[in-house]
Amino acid sequence: MWNIWRSELRMTIRQRSYYSFLVLWVAVLSLLFLVQKSAPSLSGYTNMTGTVVNVALYIIPLFMLIIGSFSIANEMENGQWRLLNTYPLFSMSYISGKIGGQFTAQTIVFTFSYGISLAIGLVSGNGFSSEWLWSIYFFSISLIFFFLVLGITLGCFVSTRWQALSISVIIWFFLIMIWPTALIGVLGLVPYPWIAPLMKLALIVNPAEFIRVSLVINLDGGAVFGQAYDSLVPFLDPPYGILNYILYFIGFLAITLLFSMLMLEWRKRR
């Protein structure tokens, strides 16, 4: 597993396209930080926070899905995976190595860009609240993690990079862009008392929503979700929130690992 981890990290870091992400994050983040200059206030959940969160939600999951699924689909396509299979290597350590390596690489580039953008923001004379910055940072890192894992699982299912790309975009579009529309459409068909439990279920199913809701609650905005989620809010509010967050993280990882492992094992046998 550690070998895969290391080789994945080294391969990703040595790719030239990896540095294009650096440019991308720096560009996006420093623009977001520069925009703060016109915002008179920045603490807690404000419209500016909403904008930053939404931009992150648009862009991070899409790229992470693509990167994650490509990292496996690529090796499937060029036969490297078959070669690896000639060694006594468990699917489990292959996948976790992949996740670990990619996550480390992406976190490094994101952290680097975040630091640079923050410096750019500071040089241009902006002020920030550090609590706010950390919340946004951990929010983005969580997004990177969850969608990388999802992408890697997807990579285990597809056979070509082209498939990986199109399914990544479909998943992104479904989970991010039309999620409320789809839910409102579907929930319009079910009896009214079912709506509340189904909404809670949907919250758990979609990691993007889960992370977003946790962030809003963390920034003291839990009340905005209304009476229906009164019981849910303390559940996600610190200190218990962190515990539940970790539990969710483990549960999510376990399920995706299980699926991708089964898929790879099935492929091996073919």
Binding site: R6, L9, R10, I13, R14, A39, P40, S41, L42, S43, G44, T46, N47, M48, G50, N54, L57, A105, I108, T111, F112, Y114, G115, I116, L118, A119, L122, G127, F128, S129, S130, E131, L133, I176, M177, I178, W179, P180, T181, L183, I184, L187, Y192, I195, A196, M199, E209, R212, V213, V216, D220, G221, A223, V224, F225, G226, Q227, A228, Y229, D230
Partner: protein, 424 residues
């Protein structure tokens, strides 16, 4: 003999015992004996008794004076006229529904420098007029009001610090009272006016309550220079709730970090002028309210600026909106681009409250752009201002810690870069 001595000692001791309780009773007897207008100074100490004062005297604590009682009657009952209480701590430890620390009726009393602890009511004013209460602290157990007025007029409340009660100051059928420079925190409602007219609320701070201030069926209330902060912990929280009230003047207040800054429900002819409405989830929300004026306010950092349901006929003009696109072609300080607030989210969640989970979801913004609400449901500012009407200061961390964070992030990731690349 030794036993006899011992018994004698006990008897002598028991003779002194009632003397102690008699000493406790003297406070009331001192009051009973006192002539009108005299000042009674209470020696430092704890007094376990209830007082009834019905003539114009001044009762003044010297040093730390604590009056304490767990009886059904109030610790201090004030009636008649011109009674003054000064520098006294009052504690009511009873837990019955009507238990009250200080009960006031009559006219022109003055209560100042008190510290009140109560499980139920702090101070109750019943048919009391012209009473002044100031420089006082009230701490409750969230089971009764800090100050409770019933048909009491022309009273003044200043510099009070009230925490952890049901309603900080509750007025029912009480008119013409002045509530000035009070600080109310962690309670249900900060100030609560019911069927009370012509009251003035000014320079108060109402923070971390469920509702900062509620005006219900009250007329001609003046609300100015108050601060309504962080009233956001409850799903029904708001800074100021104007419910079925008319002719309210809300000027130069600050509404910061509330769930809803100002909520106007079934109310008419109110004027919201020159307020700072900042960092709320919803700045101003109208429900079934018409003929209200919202002018010259500064809306900054609110997640949703304004929303209106069944409230098409309000005058919302000449406000500053940080979210608006602004172009001033003729230099009159007003933007030529009309600003519209879309109530789509509110209409959606009104039908199914569970959908509130979509608050600010990226996909919902998309949906909102596709399905625009009909024009008559929009809240429209036809002449948004180019500049803010109120000063807005920015909260930030020291730049040293931010630089530290920035450099730390760069260094940590660079070292990992090198580590990742070098690894053979």
């Amino acid at each position: 003999m030794k036993i006899m001595n011992y018994i004698m000692f006990l008897l002598v001791l028991s003779l002194f015992m009632p003397a102690v309780s008699e000493a406790e009773g003297t406070l009331q007897s001192k009051i009973d004996e006192a002539k009108k207008g005299v000042t009674i100074e209470i020696e430092e100490g704890e007094y376990e008794e209830t007082l009834v004062i019905s003539k114009p005297i001044i009762l003044k604590g010297k040093g730390e004076v604590l009056l304490r009682s767990c009886q059904a009657e109030p610790v201090v009952t004030v009636s008649g006229e011109s009674v003054t209480l000064q520098n006294i701590k009052v504690e009511h430890c009873g837990d019955e529904k009507e238990d009250t620390a200080i009960y006031v009726t009559g006219t022109n009393h003055k209560l100042e420098g008190l510290a009140i602890r109560t499980k139920r009511f702090g101070i109750r004013l019943d048919h009391a007029n012209g009473v002044t209460i100031q420089d006082t602290e009230i701490v409750g157990m969230k089971q009764g009001n800090g100050i409770d007025l019933w048909e009491s007029n022309q009273n003044t409340f200043g510099n009070l610090k009230i925490t952890n009660v049901t309603d900080g100051i509750y007025l029912e059928k009480s008119n013409g009272n002045t509530i000035h420079r009070n600080d109310i925190q962690r309670s249900r409602y900060g100030l609560h006016l019911m069927f009370s007219n012509e009251n003035v609320l000014d320079e108060n701070v109402s923070k971390a309550n469920i509702t900062g201030t509620m005006l219900m069926e009250s007329k001609r209330t003046v609300v100015r220079h108050n601060k309504f902060l962080s009233n956001n912990k409850s799903v029904n929280a708001q800074g100021l709730l104007i419910y079925m009230s008319t002719d309210t003047e809300v000027t130069r207040n600050e509404f910061i970090s509330n769930r809803v800054g100002i909520f106007i429900e079934e109310a008419e002819n109110n004027r919201i002028d020159s307020n700072k409405i900042m960092d709320n989830f919803i700045g101003v929300q109208f429900k079934k309210s018409n003929e209200n004026h919202v002018i010259r306010n500064t809306f900054v950092g609110n997640v949703n600026d304004a929303q209106a349901i069944e409230s098409a006929n309000n005058q919302v003009n000449g406000n500053y909106w940080d979210a608006a696109s602004k172009v001033d072609a003729n230099g009159d300080g007003e933007s030529e681009i009309v600003y519209r607030a879309d109530p789509y989210f509110l209409t959606l969640t009104n039908a199914v409250p569970e959908y509130q989970l979509f608050f600010q979801a990226p996909g919902l913004i998309l949906l909102q752009n596709i399905l625009k609400s009909p024009a008559d449901q929009l809240l429209t500012d036809s002449a948004p201002l180019m500049n803010m009407t109120m000063e807005v200061e920015k909260e930030k961390s020291t730049s040293f810690s931010l630089w530290f964070m920035s450099v730390g992030m760069i260094l940590a990731s660079t070292s990992l870069f090198i580590f990742g690349r070098k690894r053979r």
